[in-house]
Symmetry: C2
Subunit: 117 residues, 2 copies
């Protein structure tokens, strides 16, 4: 299955702002109108719309207008690329530490063998 993965630059940029992360958290609990999204935030509606545009550009959120109400939805798969990138870094570091551990264990054994009478 081909999954949509949003460009990492835009996704990480979108997530670098606490208000935008708050909007993503809110949309994780279900779709919301723009004014519902704005309600807990201490900012003007135009500022909220601007944040929303950054989220839309990143692919994390899509909006649709029905009548006079614009409804916002989270696009959960759009976080996959960012999550996988971070997970991959951890895996690589752990592999490197494993190799280092094996090397130290081997060196330790060699030292013990050399030291044994």
């Amino acid at each position: 299955m081909l999954k949509y993965s949003a460009p990492l630059d835009q996704v990480f940029h979108a997530l670098s702002d606490p208000s935008r992360r708050g909007m993503v958290e809110r949309l994780g609990r279900g779709p919301a109108s723009v004014s519902e999204l704005a309600a807990p935030l201490d900012m003007s509606l135009p500022a909220v719309v601007q944040h929303l545009q950054v989220l839309e550009a990143s692919g994390l959120v899509r909006t649709e207008k029905v009548g006079r109400t614009r409804t916002c939805h989270l696009v959960p798969d759009a976080l996959d690329g960012a999550g996988q990138w971070i997970a991959q870094r951890r895996t690589n570091v752990e592999r490197r530490l494993d190799r280092l551990g094996e090397y130290l264990a081997e060196t330790d054994q060699v030292t013990r063998v050399e030291e044994s009478p």
Copy 2:
């Protein structure tokens, strides 16, 4: 165990640039000097140092100067907060979809019972 988790704003901002992500990937394979980090990048050394400062401010990378060489290390735990934040969003969305699925299954059963002769 109390783990160091870098502030999400700075970590996500640091990761929003492909050159900085490239530097993090490189450091995942082991420590490197500033010039080793700069080698694959098509940019001036001052530009590399500027990116490095963003990475240091985010807590993802630490550097130490020994003699004339500055060595850069990845701080793997500093990615934990960002990884957990993304994972949590997925978990919440999946829970919501599960509840929706259960609701639809129940509704379907009710409809079947009502339809049965």
